[in-house]
């Protein structure tokens, strides 16, 4: 019998409406007790006095780059980065090399995840073969080999007829579709949000309408087909308004996420041709960021993610137009949520944690993300008072491209338990 007792922490378990000072008792990989005081003794005791104890965080959108681009990130380095951020489960995007459009890639990712044995990795497959938007992938095979969803993230299925058929086919086998919403003809080479900042920098803009139009298309097709649709990294006012409208009209098959940079940062981060702020979708103007925050407050948004996108230094040292898009984020996501949403009093800490635990878990139909008695013991402990300046050089992630570099954030994971095993103790990965 292997047991861990977490003593005297502030336990927040949104799924069970728990917000209390108390103890968590873990035995044989399961949560056994959550309450004010546990009388039992355990093999290991963790003093969580003054700290926050939550279900391990779940991130629905992570690029681990393995197989193919191990120079950017590997399943091991990505897993270590996740632990640093208190993230115990990640959904791995399929745009690897080769792309995960067949079961062998899914099986490879799962095998590497078992070997590395640090966090839970949920792979995804592609919607179309080679993510080229024409022929459907063998979704049933992908699901059977362990994919939790299909997505062409990194590009988008442009042809509405193909997308309609993909949704109908996915519904046939009860498979979740995750859509990256973009209308490429409207993006037309845009490299940042189209607006006053892009005009000042003389850069080609990605208009908000490019995303709005694709979100509307996806929602209409989901309504028509009844497929389960998850909308990735929403960044525009039009997108979240469309989602709110669909939900108000009773759509229960649609969920939506926001990546943390899209509520924390404005397109002004790009000034000075800061390529770390080059994102996909781009950082937006205040009008959009305000709408995103409102959508989070009103419950329109179901999950907060990172879109963790590692890139090697030379790909960010290019002219802005040619530089790679994206930022690593696993090591900062909780702190960004805490700093920009909770400390700004937009939402409560419990609401923020819900968007990073049981709510994303439900989207991929995982029973993780809770501290329910009997649940698998994925637990993260945070020091929410810890102020730190983001220094990517100290990151576990193999890539150091981080849009939050130099920013002061509040909150840091100290201890992480995955499946009842301590994987990080006092900030050190074991």
């Amino acid at each position: 019998m292997h047991s861990i007792l977490i003593k005297n922490g502030r336990i927040i378990d949104p799924k069970n409406n728990v917000d209390t000072i108390g103890d968590v008792f873990i035995e044989d990989g399961k949560i056994v007790y959550v309450g004010v005081s546990c009388a039992d003794t355990a093999d290991i005791e963790i003093d969580a006095t003054g700290k926050l104890v939550t279900p391990g965080l779940i991130d629905l959108q992570v690029h681990l780059r393995e197989p193919g681009r191990e120079d950017r990130e590997t399943i091991e380095t990505g897993s270590r980065a996740a632990l640093k951020g208190g993230v115990t489960s990640v959904v791995a995007m399929p745009n690897t090399t080769p792309v995960a459009d067949n079961q062998s890639v899914i099986e490879f990712v799962l095998k590497r995840a078992r070997e590395v044995d640090l966090i839970n990795i949920f792979p995804t497959g592609t919607i179309t073969k080679g993510q080229d938007g024409t022929m459907l992938s063998e979704m049933k095979e992908l699901k059977n080999s362990g994919a939790v969803a299909v997505t062409d993230d990194g590009s988008d299925v442009q042809n509405p007829q193909i997308l309609r058929r993909a949704m109908e086919y996915a519904k046939t086998h009860d498979i979740l579709i995750m859509s990256h919403c973009e209308t490429t003809e409207l993006t037309d080479g845009g490299v940042m949000h189209e607006g006053w900042v892009s005009t000042q920098l003389g850069l080609s803009g990605t208009p908000a309408i490019s995303e709005d139009y694709a979100v509307e298309k996806n929602i209409m097709l989901a309504k028509l087909t009844g497929a389960r649709l998850h909308l990735l990294h929403n960044s525009t006012k039009g997108a979240v308004e469309a989602i709110a409208r669909a939900k108000k009209n009773g759509a229960t098959n649609i969920t939506a996420e926001v990546s943390v940079q899209h509520f924390a940062l404005l397109d002004e981060e790009c000034l000075g041709y800061n390529t770390q702020a080059k994102m996909y979708p781009p950082l937006r103007s205040k009008e959009h960021v305000d709408a995103i925050i409102e959508a989070i407050k009103s419950g329109t948004i179901d999950a907060l993610t990172t879109d963790h996108a590692p890139h090697i230094e030379p790909d960010k040292l290019k002219p802005f137009e040619d530089a790679a898009m994206g930022s690593v984020g696993l090591e900062t996501s909780f702190a960004v949520m805490n700093t920009y949403l909770v400390k700004q009093k937009h939402i409560t800490l419990s609401e923020g944690i819900a968007l990073m635990t049981h709510k994303p878990a439900e989207i991929i139909r995982s029973d993780r993300g809770t501290l329910s008695v009997g649940a698998t013991a994925d637990v993260s402990i945070f020091d929410t008072t810890k102020e730190w300046i983001v220094d990517p050089k100290a990151f576990e992630s193999k890539s150091k491209n981080c849009v939050f570099a130099g920013k002061t954030l509040k909150g840091k994971a100290t201890d992480v338990i995955v499946g009842g095993v301590i994987k990080m103790k006092e900030g050190t990965i074991i």
Binding site: W196, G202, Y273, L317, P319, F320, E321
Partner: protein
């Protein structure tokens, strides 16, 4: 002879220094900087092509990642007139074409201890990014659709001297053409607004970048209305390919609706001047008869002022009196 000219220039300069070390955007310039640059440039304009020794011993590299004839020749001649040694890199023979990053190319040139590096690139921001990587002073000779600061400065000098004024307060300046794809516009609008001009732009809406009004200007879709009362009519080049890519139906229709003809120019103030950054596509942006020989045209004065502005900047940046140096540490 050249000693007298140099003494005159030193007298004009009065040991003044500008506040910046690199020039990639007009946004960097204060009104005091503008005054120094214009004063010194006027001195150089008088000096014509005199061979001077003001910057003797200094090296300049003209780094043109995007082909250019006029701007490159202007920078090169300017540096030579000041006594600098110059070399030109870029084009099809450059290392950039072999996959070397711009930053690596510029760092290598900097290691030659060049005092000034002039950069032209088809991407926005290259000069600004390069300025953070080198000890040399970087001069932006045009970056993508962003800015072309020496062009903006020479335009402002042309207007100020034509009207013999110190600021552009009360002057109406109309800019016509493809604003969206124009780095000339990027610098021009900034310098004109700094000098308090009343700036109008006229173009099809497809040629206007998002929220362009926030430069503090007004936009017009009717060229005739926009021309009324203008002191300066500034036409920008419209490239042939814009027709093919859906910004305008045809160059023909653009020329008919926005091209500057004699009849249209007459709608502006009688003493108004016509300007164009070149190269002029005759009979498309501007009616052929108006280009260089028309009494209202200032197109060739612009070119002459370009040399003067570039000489002024090269001297101001490479020879400082205040002893200050760009803060830079090679990694």
């Amino acid at each position: 002879m050249s000693e007298t000219i140099e003494q005159t220039l030193r007298d004009i300069r009065q040991k003044r220094d500008v506040s910046f070390f690199d020039l990639y955007s007009i946004d960097q310039l204060s009104l005091n900087d503008l005054e120094i640059i214009f004063d010194v440039a006027r001195g150089f304009r008088e000096a014509k092509t005199a061979k001077l020794t003001l910057c003797k011993g200094n090296t300049q590299v003209n780094c043109f990642f995007e082909p250019s004839t006029r701007t490159q020749a202007s920078f090169d001649l300017s540096a030579k007139h000041l006594g600098m040694d110059t070399t030109n890199v870029g084009g099809s023979a450059s290392s950039a074409k072999k996959g070397e990053s711009y930053i690596d190319t510029v760092e290598t040139l900097d290691a030659y201890n060049a005092r000034t590096i002039v950069i032209r690139s088809s991407e926005a921001g290259v000069a600004e990014m390069a300025s953070r990587c080198v000890q040399a002073s970087i001069l932006n000779a045009g970056d993508g659709w962003h800015e072309h600061p020496t062009q903006g400065l020479l335009d402002a000098l042309t207007i100020l001297d034509h009207f013999n004024i110190k600021t552009l307060e009360g002057k109406i300046i109309l800019i016509v053409g493809d604003i969206l794809h124009s780095r000339v516009f990027g610098s021009l609008v900034r310098v004109l607004r700094k000098l308090h001009a009343d700036v109008r732009v006229a173009a099809p809406l497809t040629f206007l970048p998002a929220e362009v009004e926030r430069f503090g200007i007004t936009t017009h879709t009717n060229i005739e209305e926009a021309l009324v009362g203008a002191d300066v009519v500034y036409a920008l080049r419209v490239q042939e390919e814009r027709g093919a890519t859906g910004y305008i139906p045809t160059i023909r229709e653009y020329s008919k609706t926005f091209g500057i003809s004699e009849r249209r120019l007459n709608l502006a103030k009688p003493e108004a001047i016509l300007m164009h950054p070149g190269p002029v596509i005759r009979d498309i942006d501007v009616h052929s008869a108006l280009v260089s020989r028309h009494p209202q045209s200032r197109i060739l004065q612009q070119v002459e002022n370009g040399m003067a502005i570039r000489k002024a900047l090269l001297w101001l940046l490479s020879e400082r009196y205040d002893g200050k140096r760009k803060e830079f540490k090679r990694m």
